[in-house]
Symmetry: C2
Subunit: 353 residues, 2 copies
C-alpha cells in the first residue's frame, strides 16, 4: 500500500489476519509517531499488542540486538500465532525481518517503512539481515513480508539529510532500469526536494513497482537480474564499513558508489562520459556526495579491496560490479582491470573534498 | 546415502558440486574420525577445506556459538561459492545448518550425521535451530541439505547410552506411522542392540524413508502431517529444559515423553492399555527410561506446563499433543483435560525411580 495515510488500511489488514499476538518492533525515533499509530490500529482488533523499541542507527543491525529481540519474543511468549510489524527505516526493517524469519523458524512479518530509502528499497523484496564486524549484511535470510505500507505522511518529518539519502536509491532505479523515471527526476527535481506529496507518491510507487518486478523474477539472486539492484553498492558497502557504520548514511555511500561505478563503466568503454555526467549532476542536485568524506584511514584502497572481496556479491573471491551501458541499462561483470579499479577507488576515497 | 562407508560417495558428490571453498563444521568428538575422513575426501577435489570444531553437547546450540561461527566464516572469508558440511550429531547438524541458512542469506549445506538419532531424524528434513534459555529450538530456519550421508560405520563406536537414545526415535516411527517396523523391532531387538550391520542398515533406511516422505508432504509444518514427528517431544522438550540441557540425552527425554503421551492417549480413551504396554516394553528393552530421573526442582509440574506453553508447537497458547490411537496411527489434539495432564506429568516427572 502506497500513499498518504497508508498505515491505516494496513493495520486493518493485519488485524484481519487473525494473529492472537502482535509485536511491533520500532525504531525508538518513531515510537511516539508512526509506531504508536500502528499499535493503536492493531489494538482495536482486540489482540495483545507489544511494542519493542530498537535504538536508532546502523549499530542496531547487530548480533547482540538480534539475540536481545529473540529473548524478548521468547519472554512474551511469542508463538507461531504471533505476527511481527516492523516500523522504522532500513535498519529496523532488516533487523526485525531477520528476527521474524528465525524466531520459531519464521513468524509472519509486515513492514511499515518510515524513511524514503526503506520505502523505495529495503522494505520491498524480503531481504533481511544484520551486520558483522567484517561486513554489512553478512548474516540474514530471504523472508517476504505479508504486506508493506509506504505511508508518505511519515516522510514529511524526515530530517533533510535522511530524505536526500533516500533519493540516491531513486536515482539508482532510473539509471539501472528506467530511463523515463530518470528524465522525470531531472525535470521535477525541485518538487521532489520540497517533498511535494504528488511527486513523492509518483516516485515511491514507481520505485516499488520496479523493485517488486525485479524481485519476483529473481527472488534469491540466482539469475543475476536481482543483482542489478546492487548498482553502487559494492563500493558503497565497503565505504560504509571503512567509515564506520553510521558515519555515512546508506544512500550517501550508495551515491559515492554510483559515482565510482560510473567511472569504471566509462573507463572500460561501456558508458559515455555525457551520461556519467547526467547521473552525477542529478545526484549532486539532490545534495548527495560523489566522493568520500576526508579522514579515512590509510591504506584505504587496500582496505576497500579487502572488504569488497568479502562482500557476499563476490563469487569465487572475484569482485563483481554492476556497470551501466546507458541510462536505464546495466550489466553484471567481474572483468574490471585492477589498476583501473585501484585508480578509481583512490580518487573517490581520497579526494580532498 | 545410507549404509556402511556412505561418507566416501558423499564427498565425491560434494567435490563435484563446484564449490571453491568448503567448511567442515564438526563436533570436536568426531574431528579425528569421520570429520577427518570427510575433509580428506574433499581436499582431493583441490578446493580449500577448513574445519571448524564445536564443543560436544547441547550447550553448543547457542546464540553465542552461532555468532562465533558466523564470524569464523566471515574471517575466511566464506562467500556464496562456499559449501558447509556438518559432521556430528543433532547438535552440530542443527547448529551448522542454521549458520549455513543465515550466512550471506544461505550457503549450501551437506549433512553427515554420526549418531543414530541424527541419522534417523535430525539430519533429514531441513529443520535447523538453536536454543534460548527460554526453550529448545526457539530460533532456527527451514534449510534443506543438498545431500545427507548416513554412514553406519560411524555408529560402531558410538557410546552405548548415545546409541540407545537414538532407538527412541526409531520406536517413535513405528508407533506413529509404521506398525510393521514396530513389530520388526520387537522381533529383532537383540540384533539391533548388538548393532548388527544389516539390522542397522534396515532400521536407518526405513526411518529415513518415513521422515523424508513426511517432510516432502508438509515441509513447513502447515498441514499438521509433519507435526506427528513430534510425538513424545512436547513433554520431552520441557523435560530437557527442566533437567538442564545435556543432563538427559534427547532420545531419553523423548522416551519419557512417549511414555507420558501414551498415558494421555490411554487416559482420554484413545489407545488401549495393551498397546501402551507394548510401546513401553520395547522402550525399556532398548534401555530407555520411562520416567524422569530424580532431583527435578519443584514446582516441577507447573514449570513443565510453563515451558510447554512456550513451545513453538503450541498455538494460541494451547499445548498440542500427538497421541496414538493404535500402533502406526496418531492424531494431533489440543483437547487434553488439564487435571489428567497434571496427574500424568506428576507421575512421570516425580516418580521415585
Amino acid at each position: 500500500m502506497v500513499g498518504p495515510g497508508a498505515i491505516q488500511p494496513l493495520t486493518t489488514r493485519i488485524a484481519a489476519a487473525g494473529a492472537r499476538r502482535m509485536v511491533v518492533i520500532a525504531d525508538v525515533a518513531v515510537a511516539a509517531g508512526p509506531a504508536a499509530s500502528v499499535a493503536a490500529g492493531l489494538e482495536a482488533s482486540g489482540a495483545a499488542v507489544t511494542t519493542l523499541t530498537v535504538p536508532s542507527g546502523e549499530r542496531s543491525k547487530s548480533a547482540a540486538e538480534t539475540v536481545r529481540l529473540w529473548e524478548a519474543l521468547a519472554a512474551l511468549p511469542a508463538d507461531r500465532a504471533t505476527h511481527v510489524v516492523a516500523v522504522g527505516g532500513g535498519v529496523v526493517g532488516d533487523l526485525a525481518g531477520f528476527v521474524a524469519a528465525t524466531f520459531v523458524r519464521g513468524l509472519p512479518v509486515w513492514q511499515v517503512p518510515t524513511t524514503l530509502v526503506a520505502q523505495v528499497d529495503s522494505a520491498i523484496g524480503g531481504k533481511t539481515g544484520i551486520n558483522l564486524a567484517a561486513g554489512k549484511n553478512l548474516v540474514g535470510a530471504f523472508w517476504q513480508p505479508v504486506g508493506v505500507a509506504c505511508d508518505s505522511d511519515t516522510l514529511a518529518s524526515l530530517p533533510d539529510r535522511e530524505f536526500r539519502s533516500g533519493l540516491a536509491e531513486v536515482v539508482k532505479y532510473g539509471v539501472i532500469l528506467d530511463a523515463p523515471l530518470f528524465s522525470w527526476l531531472e525535470a521535477h527535481a525541485a518538487e521532489v526536494l520540497t517533498r511535494d506529496p504528488a511527486a513523492l507518491a509518483h516516485v515511491v510507487s514507481r520505485c516499488v513497482d520496479i523493485k517488486a518486478r525485479v524481485v519476483e523474477e529473481d527472488e534469491h539472486e540466482r539469475t543475476g537480474l536481482r543483482a542489478v539492484l546492487n548498482y553502487g553498492h559494492t563500493v558503497g558497502h565497503a565505504l560504509e564499513a571503512l567509515a564506520g557504520y553510521g558515519a555515512l548514511l546508506h544512500g550517501e555511500a550508495v551515491a559515492i558508489g554510483m559515482a565510482a561505478a560510473a567511472r569504471l563503466a566509462a573507463g572500460t568503454g561501456r558508458w559515455t562520459v555525457d551520461e556519467v555526467q547526467r547521473q552525477n549532476s542529478l545526484l549532486a542536485r539532490f545534495g548527495l556526495p560523489l566522493t568520500a568524506p576526508p579522514g579515512l584511514e590509510e591504506p584505504v584502497v587496500e582496505r576497500a579491496l579487502a572488504v569488497m572481496a568479502r562482500d557476499k556479491k563476490s563469487l569465487h573471491g572475484r569482485v563483481r560490479f554492476i556497470l551501466p551501458t546507458a541510462i536505464g541499462r546495466v550489466e553484471l561483470t567481474d572483468d574490471v582491470d585492477s589498476s583501473l579499479l585501484e585508480a578509481v577507488l583512490r580518487d573517490v576515497l581520497l579526494s580532498v573534498a
